[in-house]
């Protein structure tokens, strides 16, 4: 059978799997304005539950039909208990909430089913292959295509022909109208969320026999599904279908005919579509209108004498700390300083400008890889590497920012996420230079002036010094006219435009500043760690930084630093006596979004009596 036909069918198989994910994502977004980052987790959870049912009953069909039920129930519980309380507060908090759940579900899957790859057998009835033209093709894959098409048709009929479908359509067209539907709205939301989750779970079970099951399969499908709905147009079922076919085909044919480009092809498709038609093929609503950031930690107060004294005491304590702590702790604190710089840099975007970036780790990675790649391949002095890395991060963030800053809220989040995954693909793919997924290291740490960074003490003081420098520099920027403009953009972008501020330009500037500092933090991390692997720029690493900022308090500078400290301390302490640090950090994060949306520092600052000046 000719290769072309095989690829066509493979492309369709992939497209149908994507569609099962994308349909739910898109409907949920269209109706509730929430991009569920946990959607991939439900896919994974569905697959594993299906596996267990299959093993117990030895019946694949039962697994396929039953697995979506408990998964959907779980999804609806999440919606009712955790998302519903946040509808008033803004959609970003809900997105963050779903991100917290990716941790919880990942940990859950890993501890119930283990972290090894598990295989699911193709059901006997579909085990063979059929003759098509001159060749053969697996029946199971044909079955996947059929089931995907059938579900697409059923879904379409439900949306177009039923009363509930009409309500969903009305809600997607106009959120205000949805609230006009009155008491039914919460029910409708929960129902659609449940259906979306059920579709994802079904997709998970169906994909099991060809993909294999492993913790981490969630993001394998979620990123392409995101791209599908961005390309197809968020909120549109038709868009999800057309996008799935396009991305499925692009990916499959890309891998066969232009293997060197395969990983980037879908990103390329996305970039082209967004440049020519920003709302996607069938975009119903302009995505830009969807992500308002709730005001958090709006007003920065000028430092009082008392806060200056307290600050000086903290700095002094940190300066003499090395006398009292052991080497291991010293290293941990050095790492905290580096990540504190990184988190502060993200907060320029997230907390101050109101742009939730989910791809910040890419710039961190750019800085780190620059140091290590240049040192190991070209013998470049690591400090020159840091400088080059910072420049690269500035250039990279200017490039990415150029595409992203015209979007706001959740679209911005998805675009940055896609770009960072593109960077991730490049790093994994470009083995000769980056060492691929094994990572790459430098043999020896350089000196900091005359002191070798092999000494933990030197490393501590150096990172400490840079942290203080970055903190002071950023604090100055926040107090400057530029800083105030950024806060203005966060608070009310439309009004900033109406009073004549070039909002786009300032957003780009904020993006570049933030990315550049992240690049610097990456450079420091390369010196600190001597090794870097693609894990550092995976989208979940960007999510970690986001968690740090939110834990400590977005819109402040000390907050993200505190958040970085808490995050890394928890990761280290908890992982030293329990395997469940992801579960714990996920729960802490979820609790924080629910109860302390201003973060720990923000809450503390609010409680502090403010003296009238």
């Amino acid at each position: 059978m000719d290769l072309f036909l095989v690829q066509l069918l493979n492309g369709l198989v992939y497209a149908m799997l994507l569609f099962l994910m994308a349909a739910g994502l898109s409907l949920i977004f269209g109706l509730m304005n929430v991009v569920s980052l946990a959607h991939g987790s439900f896919f994974m959870l569905g697959a594993y539950i299906g596996l267990s049912i299959y093993q117990i009953t030895n019946n694949f069909w039962l697994a396929l039909v039953l697995a979506p039920i408990p998964t959907a129930a779980l999804g609806m519980v999440v919606e009712i208990l955790f998302l519903r309380p946040l509808y008033r507060r803004g959609h970003l908090d809900q997105v963050l909430m779903t991100f917290g759940f990716t941790f919880v579900f990942f940990d859950l899957v890993r501890s119930i089913w283990g972290s090894n790859i598990r295989n699911m057998a193709v059901p006997e009835a579909l085990a063979g292959a059929v003759q098509i033209g001159a060749g053969i093709y697996p029946v199971y894959r044909l079955f996947l295509i059929a089931i995907g098409l059938a579900l697409a048709l059923i879904l379409w009929l439900c949306i177009e022909r039923t009363r509930i479908g009409a309500m969903v359509r009305a809600g997607v067209d106009d959120s205000a109208m949805a609230s006009g539907l009155g008491a039914n709205v919460p029910l409708l939301f929960t129902g659609v969320f449940g259906v979306g989750v059920a579709l994802a779970a079904l997709g998970g079970v169906a994909a099991g026999p060809i993909m294999g099951l492993y913790p981490g399969m969630d993001s394998e499908v979620m990123i392409p599904a995101f791209i599908v709905i961005v390309v197809g147009g968020m909120g549109s079922l038709r868009g999800a279908f057309v996008g799935s076919v396009l991305i499925g085909m692009a990916d499959t044919f890309g891998k066969t005919y232009v293997p060197s480009m395969a990983l980037f092809l879908i990103y390329l498709v996305m970039a082209v579509v967004l440049l020519t038609r920003p709302q996607g093929f069938f975009g119903i609503k302009h995505m830009g209108s969807s992500g308002n950031i709730p005001p958090r930690n709006a007003v920065a107060t000028a430092p009082t004498t008392r806060s200056r004294i307290i600050g000086a005491m903290v700095v002094a304590a940190m300066a003499i700390a090395p006398l009292f702590v052991n080497n291991h702790q010293l290293t941990l604190v050095s790492e905290i300083f580096i990540f504190a710089i990184l988190a502060m840099s993200l907060d320029i975007l997230l907390g101050f400008t109101g742009l939730p970036s989910m791809g910040h780790a890419a710039f961190f990675g750019l800085g780190a890889y620059a140091v290590i790649v240049l040192a190991s391949l070209f013998n470049v002095d690591p400090w020159i590497g840091v400088a080059i890395g910072v420049l690269l991060a500035a250039a990279g963030s200017a490039f990415v920012g150029y595409f992203c800053v015209s979007a706001t809220g959740i679209t911005f989040l998805m675009l940055t996420l896609a770009f960072s995954q593109l960077a991730y693909s490049v790093v994994v793919k470009w083995r000769d230079v980056t060492g691929g997924s094994d990572g790459i290291g430098i043999p020896e740490k350089p000196a900091f002036f005359i002191w070798s960074l092999e000494s933990r003490m030197v490393m501590y003081y150096m990172t400490f010094g840079f942290f203080i420098l970055c903190y002071l520099g950023l604090r100055r920027m926040i107090a400057s006219p530029l800083g105030h403009v950024l806060v203005g953009i966060r608070e009310n972008e439309g009004r900033m435009l109406a009073i004549g501020h070039n909002v786009q330009g300032y957003k780009l500037l904020a993006f570049i500043i933030s990315g550049t500092i992240a690049g610097f933090a990456g450079g420091l991390y390369a010196l600190f760690n001597g090794f870097i692997s693609p894990d550092a720029i995976h989208w979940s690493a960007s999510g970690d930084i986001l968690i740090m900022v939110m834990l400590g308090g977005g819109g402040t500078l000390i907050g993200p630093a505190i958040g970085a400290a808490i995050f890394l301390l928890m990761k280290n302490l908890v992982s030293s006596y329990s395997d469940h640090w992801m579960l714990i950090i996920g729960c802490v994060f979820i609790g924080c979004v629910l109860f302390f949306p201003e973060g720990l520092w923000g809450t503390f600052r609010r409680l502090k009596p403010v003296r009238a000046s």
């Binding site: 006219p481 800083g483 403009v485 203005g488 608070e491 009073i499 000046s613």
Partner: protein, 260 residues
């Protein structure tokens, strides 16, 4: 189009704003239909019309928040059709919004300061604290006084009364030092007393400033307008002095008749 004067120079009646056969629709709904109007220097031009007549949509097209489907908008002689709102503001049109559109979590002075800063530069400076730009701060205080907002400037805007927020809207627009001030129902939702104060506030604005204003309250219209345009389903029914418009049969029929 004969009735559109080509830009007359010298003799004084140079229009600040001119729209030329502006059209805009949302799907089948036409909200602006072939609208050509002009605002002269120093003129108080008021647009009236029933709810949904397309008044705010017109303001949005002039301010750049909404793109016209066809037709052109000129500020003095510059074609500003389809420009971005910030560009249009910098070219000389400042506007207020029908629904208060401020920075509720920032202070009064910070609201005004941001608007002044856009006009008076320094915005790219990222090291010098804003507190050091005393000229900008002074101007912000001055504007608060001009729009009759008294008391502590550090109060958060969300704690202001509704009327004070309406006044601040105008202060924000004035901060841009516009050639044309575009006001969308500045007195909407105000008590009679507040309305009276607003009339005085607008009357005290520099007399050479061109003002295009949308208004519901006929009392305000009669006390301020040099020229009135009646909008009805996106169309200009009549345009002229208060007396001329009141005399128009069609206006009586569809609009004043309705109001009375």
């Amino acid at each position: 189009m004969g009735h559109i004067p080509s830009s007359q120079t010298g003799a004084g009646v140079m229009s600040v704003l001119r729209t030329d056969r502006l059209c805009r629709s949302f799907g089948n709904l036409v909200v602006t239909r072939d609208l050509s109007l002009e605002v002269q220097r120093g003129e108080r031009h008021i647009i009236i019309g029933p709810n949904g007549a397309g008044k705010t949509s017109l303001a949005n097209q002039i301010g750049g928040q909404l793109r016209p489907s066809s037709g052109r908008i000129f500020l003095e002689d510059v074609d500003i059709t389809g420009q971005s709102p910030d560009r249009i503001n910098r070219l000389g049109i400042a506007r207020t919004f029908q629904k208060n559109n401020l920075f509720p979590n920032l202070s009064i002075l910070e609201n005004l300061r941001l608007a002044v800063q856009a006009r008076r530069g320094h915005t790219l400076n990222c090291v010098r604290p804003v507190a050091h730009y005393s000229a900008v701060l002074d101007r912000a205080r001055e504007l608060a006084a001009i729009v009759h907002i008294e008391g502590e400037g550090s109060r958060l805007v969300r704690h202001l009364s509704y009327g004070e927020q309406r006044q601040l809207e105008i202060g924000m627009a004035l901060a841009s030092e516009p050639k044309l001030l575009l006001l969308d129902e500045p007195t909407s939702g105000m008590s009679p007393l507040e309305t009276q104060r607003m009339i005085e506030l607008i009357r005290d604005l520099p007399s050479d400033l061109a003002i295009l204003m949308i208004e519901h309250d006929m009392k305000v219209v009669f006390s301020l307008a040099d020229r009135v345009t009646v909008l009805y389903y996106g169309e200009a029914l009549a345009s002229g002095t208060c007396a001329e418009v009141q005399a128009s049969a069609r206006v009586r029929e569809v609009y004043l008749g309705m109001a009375g």
